[in-house]
Every structure is written in C-alpha cells, then in structure tokens.
C-alpha cells in the first residue's frame, strides 16, 4: 500500500496522432518499467489492430515508479485512453479514476477537434490539466503559437506548458516532474469501508475475467470476499495486483491506487463498468457515483460472406463481446445475404474496428450493410417504436411521424478549406451554430442529422480538406424528419440488405447513385437485369444491365473433359455466393461492393 501523498493518477488526452502512445512509452521507459529490450514501440497499444492503425481502443493502465527531484519515490498510475470520439465513453471512465491529465497537443498541428472534446471531458471530470506541447523536434513546430491557441480555444493557462518531444525524449524529465508537482494526490481513508470503482473489465484467456479498479476508500485484499453493489453478487478475490506494465501481484490495493483483481467472475457482463465494489461483510453504505452506460448509436448488420460460417461468426462475436461489452448483436436473416447479426456500435470507427477484428483475429470474411441510426417512430395508433433496421420499417400508412437523431459536431479546419466544409455541412442538412477563427483555423459548430454523418461524411470531409479537417461530435436530440425508406429492386424483387432510410429530398439522388453503382457491379447475365430504386412501390430511379454478349470457352482440351467439368464445378461453387432474383443471379459480392459505397 502506498502513501497517498506519493501517488499520482493521471490520463493522457490528445487528438489522434498527437503522440499520446509514444509519450506513454517514453514515460514507461524513463521510469524503468521495461528494459530496452522489452520496450517495443507503443507498448500500450497491444491489440494488433491498434498497433497498425495507431489508435488506442481499450484503455490500459500502468504503474510507474518515479524517483523525483525531491528524493522521494512516487507511484505514477498512467491510464491510457482512446483518442477517438467514438470512445469518449471510455475516456470518461478512465478520467473518473484520475486526479489529473496531461493534455498533449502536437506543436505543429495545434488544437484539433478531439483535443477540445477530450480536454472538456477532463475539465468536466474536475481533473487538473497539464498541457504539454509535443513534437517540438519537428521543423514545423510552432510552440509559441500553439501555446497561445490552447489559451484562446480551450481557455486554460498554458504559460507553463512543457515543451517536449516524445520521439527524441526531450522534455520527458520535465513532464515527470510536472506530474509530481502540479497534480494533486488522491484522497481517501484506508480505515473506511471499501469503495472501489470498477473502471474496466476484459477477458484474459489465462486469468479469466479481469477487472480494473480504482480504490477510493478502504483496502482491497487477496482472499477478501467482495460484493458488486449493483447486483449484490459476491466473489472471493483470487488475485490483486498492478501492471508495471508487466502484471505484478501485490496482494493488496489501498486508497488512491489503481490495479486489477480477478475473482472467479464468469463473464465480463457480470462486471458492470462504473459499478462500486465493496466488502461483502462490511459493505459501504453508498456506492460511488458511477457513469451512465454507453449506448450504441450506429447499427449495421454483419453477415458471413460464406454462409456456412454463420456459427463461426456467432462464436467470434461472443468472444469479442467478452472484451468489449459496448457493442450489441442479435441474430437476424436477410434474403439477400442469408443469416447474420444486427449489431449496434458506439460510432463508425467502433463499427469498423469490430469488423476488422472479426476479419483479422477470426479470419472471417464479413459483409456489412450500410450503417444506420436509431429512428423513433410514432405509429398512427399512438404507440412508439425504435427502428434499428430499415428492413423493419413499418407500412407507410401506419406511420404518424418519424424522429431521427441529431448531433452537435465541431469541425476544425484550416481557412482555405472552410468553404467546402461549410458546403458539405449544408448539403447534409446541417445547421450552423457557431463559426469562430483561431490562429489560422476555423472552428465550425453544426447540428447535423446523424444519418447524414454515418453515410460517408467522414470520408468526404477528409477528402475535401485534404485530411486537415478534424471532427468530433456528441449526440444532441431527436427531431421529426421528412424521412422515407428507399428500396432497391433487382428485376422487381426487393433486396432487403440495400434498403435505406433517407431524407425525402435526397431519396432520388441516393437511389439513383446506388442503382448506377450496382450497374457496374452486377455482371452481365443471359438476361437483362433491371435495377430500380423505389419509395413505397413508386420507382424513382432505374438502370439496366444489358444481357451478356459472349461467354464460351473455346480452347481445345483434347479428351480432358474433367477440366471442363471443373469449370462447371467452379460455377457451382460461385453460385453459393449468388442470390437468385427471378431469372438472374446476382453475386453477393455485388451487394457487398454496393454497400461499400461510402468508400470512394
């Protein structure tokens, strides 16, 4: 157990790519948490995908031993946090375990949308913020200008911001000193009843369910019987320890400390993140203030490209869910794509990450339908439903009104691209709330329908700003919208997986775009194929794929008929991936490609 005055609990918050992970590595290295050899780059980003894409997904924690200039040894508990907006929920819960945060800003890029969003989350959580200006080794670094920008935009004192380079190691000692001198130490009473915040939990193949906890009051010990206050379930504690970053059992965690426990808990869902853990025999009277659970806002259906892999997909989703309880899934079936799952995600990136993990870690080829949001529909009989899937759209005559979710988005962009960004927001039915200029950059705040954002907003924003715009959002409110369901039909049959809900004004353009796109994807057949977009049976766009001109193998095979038969077998295997629409067959891949329409 460490003396409270010798503990500092902190997070690092930053816009993506501003150097959070690199800084964490440096701090670990400097404090001798790992030897040079053990030190692989960005040790905290340990999932393959995180490493590759350079984004932290799951918050990680590490205890550093730091001998400060005052001669005393401190325990610095570092919580790494995700930088991306989709995971702001995970940021908040990490912040709840800390007293302070390092706000990392790239000294060449300056404040970006997620810098702001994450800084505000920290300020809301009453954390002490220490700004640090990273990447000062870059020739383009302008620390003085950025220092000013931090003060102007975020409104915190940046006069003592530490200048550093996580790459060269410059300024790292100063950062460590600032942690000790500028952050408050935690408060807590070792003699009080146990109150520990359940910050995170995950499934470890060797240890089972692991819970990450921050002890507020009391002491957590190996062998102790603990109780989850939300469920009342009790478990004997098997292991207690910290990550340095190597897993180290300490047997005990006192007030102010952050560490892990294992307690023969069966599934991650038995660990409600935000719950309070107390002693089963001497329980605390009150739980700690928790945080509200995350709710999925973006929905998409996932299907195995090979229909025989449905059970594998289910098993994979179950496995992933052990580690990430923030996404939901539920079995469904589609005429076009077969058996699959309707899934809910925290945001678009979250969705993409889950999909990629399924493909990468479980070697599954996945088809994802176009992302959709949750609509609130009031029926004529007065009842209300939540619509998660366009396929479940009720008959038009039964609908009294539809509400769609709106978000409040902040976009930061260099001046020269502002015009196109504003135009994009307008096209997407955006309403301007605010427009300000700070040091050569503009910050536009808009209200936007989420369904316009899940379509291909990110990609468009990136391309029109050449990657310079940054974007962040929060859910705002539900509003009545003039929305319709657009069906796509192949030779008159509706393709369920391609149905979409869009604003009436955009229905025609979107329907036509999808038909045009399909036209290039549907291979020519013996017969003509009609591709149509329709609203409630009324056709709004049409394309035709002409019949094939020629398809015959003319090479001479001698008597090797077996080879010819192989061709047929290949055709048959291909047919498994085909869907029959009247007398034509559409390869599943055409639907998949069409569903990726946001990608261009």
């Amino acid at each position: 157990m460490t003396d409270l005055s010798h503990i500092r609990n902190f997070s690092i918050v930053a816009h993506i790519d501003h150097g959070k992970s690199t800084l964490a590595d440096r701090l670990i290295q400097q404090c001798g948490g790992l030897t040079e050899r053990e030190m692989s780059e960005q040790v905290l980003d340990n999932m393959e995908l995180e490493r590759e894409r350079g984004i932290t997904i799951k918050a990680q924690t590490v205890r550093l031993e730091y001998k400060a200039k005052d001669g005393k040894t401190y325990h610095l508990n570092l919580m790494d946090t995700p930088g991306h907006v989709d995971f702001s929920y995970e940021v908040s819960r990490s912040l709840a375990a800390c007293e302070g945060a390092l706000l990392v800003v790239d000294a060449s890029q300056g404040v970006e949308a997620q810098t702001l969003a994450n800084a505000y989350l920290a300020i809301d959580a009453d954390l002490e913020l220490v700004p640090v200006l990273n990447k000062v080794d870059l020739p383009a670094a302008e620390p003085e200008r950025i220092r000013q920008q931090i003060e102007d935009v975020i409104g915190i004192d940046a006069s003592e911001a530490v200048l550093m380079s996580a790459k060269t190691g410059l300024g790292i000692p100063e950062v460590l000193e600032a942690l000790v001198t500028r952050l408050p130490h935690p408060e807590g009473d070792a003699d009080a009843e146990l109150q520990a915040l359940l910050v995170d939990s995950w499934y470890d193949p060797y240890l089972g369910v692991v819970a990450l906890v921050r002890v507020k009051h009391g002491v957590l010990k190996k062998g102790q019987k603990i109780r989850m206050m939300s469920t009342g379930h009790a478990y004997p504690v098997d292991r207690v320890g910290v990550f340095t970053p190597a897993r180290t059992e300490t047997g005990v965690l006192g007030p102010g400390e952050i560490g892990f426990i294992t307690a023969s808990i069966k599934t991650v869902s038995d660990c409600n993140v935000g719950d309070t853990i107390t002693d089963d025999r001497q329980p605390a009277a009150e739980p700690l203030p928790g945080f509200k659970p995350s709710v999925p806002v973006v929905f998409s259906s996932l299907y195995p490209a090979d229909t025989s892999e449905y059970e594998d997909l289910r098993a994979a989703l179950e496995r992933l869910h052990l580690n990430d309880a923030s996404f939901e899934f539920e079995a469904e079936s589609s005429a076009a794509l077969g058996m699959g799952f309707r899934c809910g995600f925290l945001g678009l990136l979250h969705m993409e990450i889950i999909q990629q993990r399924l493909e990468r870690e479980f070697d599954l080829e996945i088809i994802a339908t176009a992302p959709s949001v949750v609509y609130h529909i009031t029926l004529t009989d007065g009842s209300e439903i939540e619509l998660h899937n366009p396929t479940d759209y009720p008959e038009v005559t039964r609908i009294a009104e539809i509400e769609e979710p709106w978000i409040k988005a902040s976009i930061m962009v260099p001046d020269e691209y502002l015009g196109s960004v504003l135009q994009l927001c307008t096209e997407r039915r955006g309403e301007q709330i605010d427009l300000t200029y700070v040091g050569g950059r503009a910050m536009a705040v808009y209200r936007l329908p989420l369904n316009e954002v899940v379509f291909d907003f990110y990609d468009r924003l990136k391309s029109i700003s050449r990657g310079y715009a940054s974007f962040d959002y929060e859910l705002d409110e539900y509003r009545i919208g003039n929305l319709v369901k657009v069906d796509i039909m192949v030779n008159g049959d509706v393709v369920d997986a391609l149905a979409m809900i869009v604003h009436r004004d955009q229905a025609e353009a979107r329907g036509r775009h999808l038909c045009e796109r399909l036209k290039d994807l549907v291979p020519r057949q013996l017969f003509k194929v009609a591709l149509q977009a329709a609203i409630g049976g009324k056709v709004i766009a049409r394309e035709t794929v002409g019949a094939m001109r020629k398809d015959v193998t003319s090479k001479c095979y001698g008597g090797d008929i077996t080879r010819k038969r192989k061709l047929l077998e290949k055709q048959k295997a291909g047919k498994k991936k085909m869907r029959q629409y009247g007398n034509v067959e559409i390869p599943q891949s055409a639907f998949i490609q069409a569903l990726r329409m946001g990608d261009e």
Binding site: R524, Q525, L526, F527, M548, R549, K550, D551, V552, T553, S554, K555, C556, G558, G559, D560, I561, T562, K564, R565, L567, L568, Q571, K572, K575, N583
Partner: protein, 387 residues
C-alpha cells in the same frame, strides 16, 4: 447394345515440346534428351494393357496429340499404329491424325509420318502474322507456316490448322483479314480458338500485372461472330464451337469427345472415357513424364485413376460436351449413355425459359443450342445444370 458403343477412339499423348508457349497449360515439357526406345516401349505396353480390358472393339480413329507429337520419331508413330490395328478391329476408314508444329524441321519429317500411316494433319499455325507469332512465343514464322501448309497439301488428303484469336491488341478488323487469309490456305477443316488465359501460365501472370491488354467482351463477341460468318461464307461452317469443316470433313476423332463416345487415352496425363463392365469409366494416366515412363515400364501401365462415372457427373459431361456441337444432343444417344431421357435430366421450366429467350432450339427429343446460345454456352450450361 448400340453399335456406336463398340467403337473406340485412341488418343496418344506425346508430352514434349522444343520450348514452352506462354499461354499453354497442356501437359508439355522440355527435355534435353529422351530415351526414344523406352518411350516407344512404354506407349506400346500401356496400349496393350488397356486393349486387354476392352476386347472386340472397332478402332475408328487415332489422334497423336501433345505437347508436340510431330517431334516423336515417325517410327514410334508407325509402331503404335501397327500395334493398335493388331489389338482392335480397325475400321477401313480409320482416321489417324497427327498434331504438328509448323517449323521447318518438322516439315521435313512430314513425309515419314505420312508413310507411317498418318492420314490427317492438324497444324498449330496459331497466327498468320510474325509479330503476333512472336508475342505468342511461337518459334516459327509466317513464312515457315506457309511452307509447312504447302508441304501438307502435297502429302495429306485431309489437314486442318489451329488459329488463336482475341490475342492481346488484336482488333476485329485485323482478325477478319487474317482469317480470310487463312481460309485460302485451308483444306476442308479449320479450328479457331479464342485465347484463354490459364492460371499459372506466363500470360496469366502478365495479365495479373496489367501487362496484357486483351480485347473486351464486346470485341471478343464480334470476333466470334466474324469467325462464324467468314468461315460459313467460305463453305466451312462450324460443326462445334471452335471447329469448322466442309460437310463430311469433320474430325471424326474429336466428334468422339463431343458425343461422349468411348475413347482410350494413353501417354502422360491422357484421359479416357470407356465403358468397362457396362459402366462408363473416367481414366487418367500419370501426368509427370518420368513417373509415367517408370510405371509403364515396371507395371505395364501408369493409370492414376479409373473410376466409374455415373449420375449427375455423367449427365454434366454429356451435356457440356454435346451442346458444343451444332447438331446438339440426340435424346436417344443421351439415354444410351446416361440412362436418362432429356425430360428426366433437365428442369422443364429452365428449358422453356432458355428456349423462349432464344438460346435453345425446339426440336423434339433433342437438346440443341442456337447460335446465340452457343455464343453464351457457359452461362446456358450453368443454368441447365444448376437448376
């Protein structure tokens, strides 16, 4: 039992070539030296091995294919022909074809092959354009090809040659001119194959790299149509997708394949389709030349597979092959081979749909593709056999 089932055709595979062509995925190999005595012996033994299993057959054709069988010693061909005629009852009209490459060296031995008993020649001309020939990796020139054709005219009553079209960069107009040229040199038979890119060949890799520009579907279709038209006008109508002949000049041997009648295949990688004990069998010989040779010399044959071919597989083969013929499939012959009537084998709705769309002809107790249907035969067969 029908008369045709007592007939047998013989295919002999010679697996060696002087060099390998970049589009080719036949069982062809280049070797510095070949033990000609051993190869002759091995082929003769394998022939005898199979002949013993199918007594009382009438031999209607022999086909020496490859590889480049014109590189085999003419004595080897002579010995095989002689042996075959002694093992089977040879039809007096027997057709004996040799595939040959039109290099000058091979032209010189044509006469010896004629003496050995070859009475039909099939020349791998491929193109009548020097640049195209070298792009196809061929070692002969247009002039050599022409000389070879002249020699063939003098030596063989019947000969044919192969052309490959829809080559990289070829236009429909250029193909028309080339084909017209070719017709003038022909004698009663011509095969025109659209270039197929086979996995694993140098052309396949080049295409994957984007270094091979092939005519698109529209141009490919036009070239196919031009081929039908030009050859029809020249009195060489198609009798199969890629094969054209003056009436009566059809390759008897190849008709055996398309009609799914019995044939015997010997030599490395050769395939056969034979009725053994009343069931159609699929046979295949070892593909690798040296393994084949060793097995034949030690065991008398190098059969890798000889399995009954029944049910759906048999129906598939008979259909796939038969629809390639302009004459299509005769219901009675189909039933003799597969045990099923056409009505039992195919879904009437699919037949009706394909007929209505103009891809199949309406002829009682026949299954015949129309010209439009043959041009899209893969898809038509796909519909027929997959529904």
């Amino acid at each position: 039992m029908a008369d045709s089932q007592q007939d047998i055709a013989l295919y002999v595979h010679w697996p060696f070539c002087l060099s390998l062509c970049p589009y080719c995925d036949f069982n062809s190999h280049v070797r510095d030296t070949i033990d000609q005595g051993a190869w002759r012996e091995a082929l003769l033994r394998e022939l005898a091995h199979y002949a013993a299993q199918i007594p009382n057959r009438r031999l209607t054709s022999i086909f020496f294919g490859g590889g480049t069988p014109s590189l085999m010693p003419p004595e080897t061909a002579a010995a095989i022909i002689k042996h075959a005629k002694s093992l089977f009852a040879a039809d007096p009209d027997i057709e004996i074809t040799l595939e040959a490459n039109p290099t000058s060296a091979e032209t010189l031995v044509l006469e010896a092959f004629a003496k050995a008993g070859i009475n039909r020649l099939s020349l791998g001309i491929q193109a009548l354009d020097d640049a195209a020939l070298s792009a196809l990796g061929r070692t002969h020139s247009k002039a050599e090809a022409q000389a070879c054709i002249t020699a063939a005219h003098a030596l063989f009553e019947r000969f044919s040659f192969d052309l490959i079209y829809a080559r990289p960069g070829q236009t429909p107009e250029a193909w028309k001119a080339e084909l017209t040229d070719a017709v003038a040199m022909s004698r009663g038979h011509l095969s025109a194959y659209q270039l197929t890119i086979e996995p694993g060949t140098p052309f396949f890799l080049a295409q994957a790299r984007g270094a091979l520009e092939l005519p698109d579907e529209e141009n490919g279709a036009q070239m196919f149509e031009i081929t039908q038209q030009v050859l029809e006008d020249a009195g060489l109508p198609a009798y199969e997708i890629s094969n054209h002949a003056a009436p009566g000049g059809e390759s008897r041997h190849n008709l055996t394949y398309w009609r799914h009648d019995d044939y015997l295949g010997i030599g490395p990688g050769a395939h056969g389709r034979l009725q053994l004990d009343g069931t159609v069998h699929e046979t295949r010989q070892h593909r690798a030349p040296e393994i084949w040779l060793d097995r034949c010399l030690s065991h008398g044959h190098a059969t890798q597979r000889s399995t009954p071919l029944t049910g759906d597989l048999l129906v598939e083969e008979v259909t796939m092959m038969g629809l390639r013929l302009i004459a299509g499939i005769d219901g009675q012959a189909f039933k003799n081979r597969t045990g099923l009537s056409l009505g039992q084998a195919f879904d009437p709705n699919t037949i009706a749909q394909l007929t209505e769309a103009g891809f199949l002809e309406t002829r009682p107790d026949h299954l015949v593709a129309t010209a439009a249907g043959r041009q899209r035969l893969n898809a038509v067969i796909g519909q027929l056999l997959n529904s």
